[in-house]
């Protein structure tokens, strides 16, 4: 795979980061496959284990979405897709978030009903090396085992997500990082059954369902706002992306520019920039405009698709006083 996002060629160090992220996501899938199998084999009648298993199944979605998206965004823009394929990331993000919300809600209702009806989960035994062993011990062992790897993976992935400006990777890493809570929750639930507290299992399942729903909600908000073309934010949606200010500052610093402001939307990994500039006296020659555009693109690899619009007055959205829509800039 050539490491590029559409027409955007990645700087060499980022290319390495991307390859590392792809490798890590394959590792994640492999570890998930093992843990899903183990949890399924020991799940028995525990609602908490069922919830943990469903969460593990859902955890397949973000790495898959990431791996598919890096392939799709690789395609350069075409006549049919003039903005390129970057939004594939956002679509993957939304699909994963909706799945999380749906399953979280289902589990919350399912476990809540179990608690209300006072269902006592039966957990029997298995024969292990000629000994009768309570299945609960195996459940706790499996959950303790599957708790650790995602936390480590998540902590590595968060750094890569920041460098690559990839929100799907960030969401995935964030979920992985919180995964140990699911494991500890189901261990406590099963241990609760073990000491005769029948409700501990359903309570643990409700806790896990709540965490799935929380993840789903957070991701859905992020994915929807991105698809709504909110202004570009940092990879964790913490604050407006500093590049917006950098572009404006750069343009304002040019000798022929009176004032400047830009609309920047996040297409996935890369930004789409519409920069409005008010010339000082009259329109400069074409070379000056092109030089200004190249200057902006050189600011950061995320800026490649930039449209510069010379206007008489800045539109309101980018800090001007003009009340017209930006498109009606004449």
């Amino acid at each position: 795979m050539t490491a590029r996002f559409g027409r955007t060629e990645l700087p060499e160090d980022l290319e390495r980061v991307l390859r590392k992220a792809i490798r890590l996501q394959w590792t994640t899938l492999a570890i998930l496959a093992v843990s899903v199998t183990l949890v399924f084999l020991t799940m028995g009648n525990s609602q908490a284990m069922k919830a943990a298993w469903i969460e593990d199944m859902l955890s397949f979605a973000p790495p898959l979405a990431f791996l598919i998206a890096v392939r799709i965004v690789n395609k350069p823009p075409s006549e049919g897709y003039p903005y390129g394929y970057h939004r594939a990331t956002g679509v993957g993000h939304l699909v994963a978030a909706v799945a999380l919300c749906a399953m979280g809600t289902f589990l919350l209702i399912d476990s809540g009903m179990g608690l209300l009806k006072g269902e006592h989960p039966p957990i029997g035994s298995v024969e292990l090396l000629g000994q009768t062993v309570w299945l609960g011990w195996l459940m706790m062992a499996v959950m303790a085992l599957t708790a650790v790897p995602p936390v480590i993976l998540g902590r590595i992935k968060i750094k890569l997500a920041k460098d690559l400006h990839n929100k799907v990777l960030y969401a995935d890493a964030d979920m992985n990082k919180a995964d140990w809570m699911t494991a500890v929750g189901s261990i406590l639930g099963v241990a609760g059954i073990g000491i005769g507290l029948w409700w501990a299992d359903a309570a643990a399942a409700i806790f896990i369902a709540g965490s799935i729903l929380h993840d789903g909600w957070k991701n859905m908000r992020g994915a929807v706002t991105d698809l709504m073309d909110t202004r570009a934010m940092t990879f964790d949606d913490g604050k407006p992306h500093p590049l917006i200010g950098k572009v404006d500052d750069y343009l304002r610093g040019l000798p022929w520019v009176e004032s400047a402001g830009s609309r920047v939307r996040d297409q996935g990994h890369v930004f789409h920039v519409e920069a409005f500039v008010v010339p000082r006296d009259q329109l400069p020659p074409l070379q000056a405009l092109e030089a200004a555009r190249d200057g902006c693109i050189d600011l950061d690899w995320k800026i490649q698709d930039l449209v510069m619009v010379p206007v008489a007055e800045l539109p309101a959205e980018v800090g001007g006083r003009r009340r017209h829509q930006s498109e009606r800039s004449l």
Binding site: H120, P121, P122, G124, W134, W137
Partner: protein, 174 residues
């Protein structure tokens, strides 16, 4: 973060080990009550696994009078009835038999009026939502050549009792 995780694990392990002495245990204390006491068993007629005869327990006299059956004269017979007697003997418990139809017995099991239901039940039994089926203790094949995995039904969530019964069945049937 990592230190917090290690700390938590360190905290959990001895905690679980401490509980390990009584894990699993019964929310309703079935196993403790049965030991040295009475094992209340629902039995539905399904030879050769279970044959309801004249009862040996007090609750059974009425049941048998109602159905009018009296085959052996010493209480229910059949392989599962024998297994239940041996299990009760191991725990110094007296068996109180209640005969009836499967659905009626399972309902009484759910209400906690019975500890155990036998009647040639199999793993595919529709009662799995209402009763805790044991691990299959025996596999046979029926006339059509289908596999039948035989189980007994304990009360939901009485896990110490369930595990003890499964251990007994494993050792007894091997």
């Amino acid at each position: 973060m990592r230190t917090k995780f290690v700390f938590l694990a360190a905290l959990l392990v001895p905690l679980l080990a401490g509980c390990g002495l009584k894990m699993p245990s019964d929310p309703e204390g079935t196993l403790d009550r049965v030991a040295g006491g009475t094992l209340r068993v629902g039995i539905s007629h399904n030879p050769p696994w279970t044959e309801t005869g004249t009862g040996s327990g007090p609750a059974n006299a009425n049941a048998n009078a109602a159905t009018g059956t009296s085959s052996a004269g010493t209480g229910p017979a059949g392989t599962e009835a024998e297994l239940v007697r041996a299990f009760a003997a191991e725990h110094n418990a007296r068996v109180e038999w209640v005969s009836g139809g499967e659905s009626n017995l399972v309902r009484r099991l759910e209400r906690g009026e019975l500890d155990l239901v036998v009647g040639g039940l199999t793993k595919d039994s529709p009662w799995s939502k209402h009763a805790a089926l044991t691990q299959p203790y025996l596999e046979t094949s029926n006339g059509q050549g289908d596999k039948e995995q035989h189980v007994m039904a304990a009360r939901m969530g009485e896990n110490a009792f369930l595990v003890e019964l499964e251990r007994f069945l494993r050792e007894e049937v091997q």
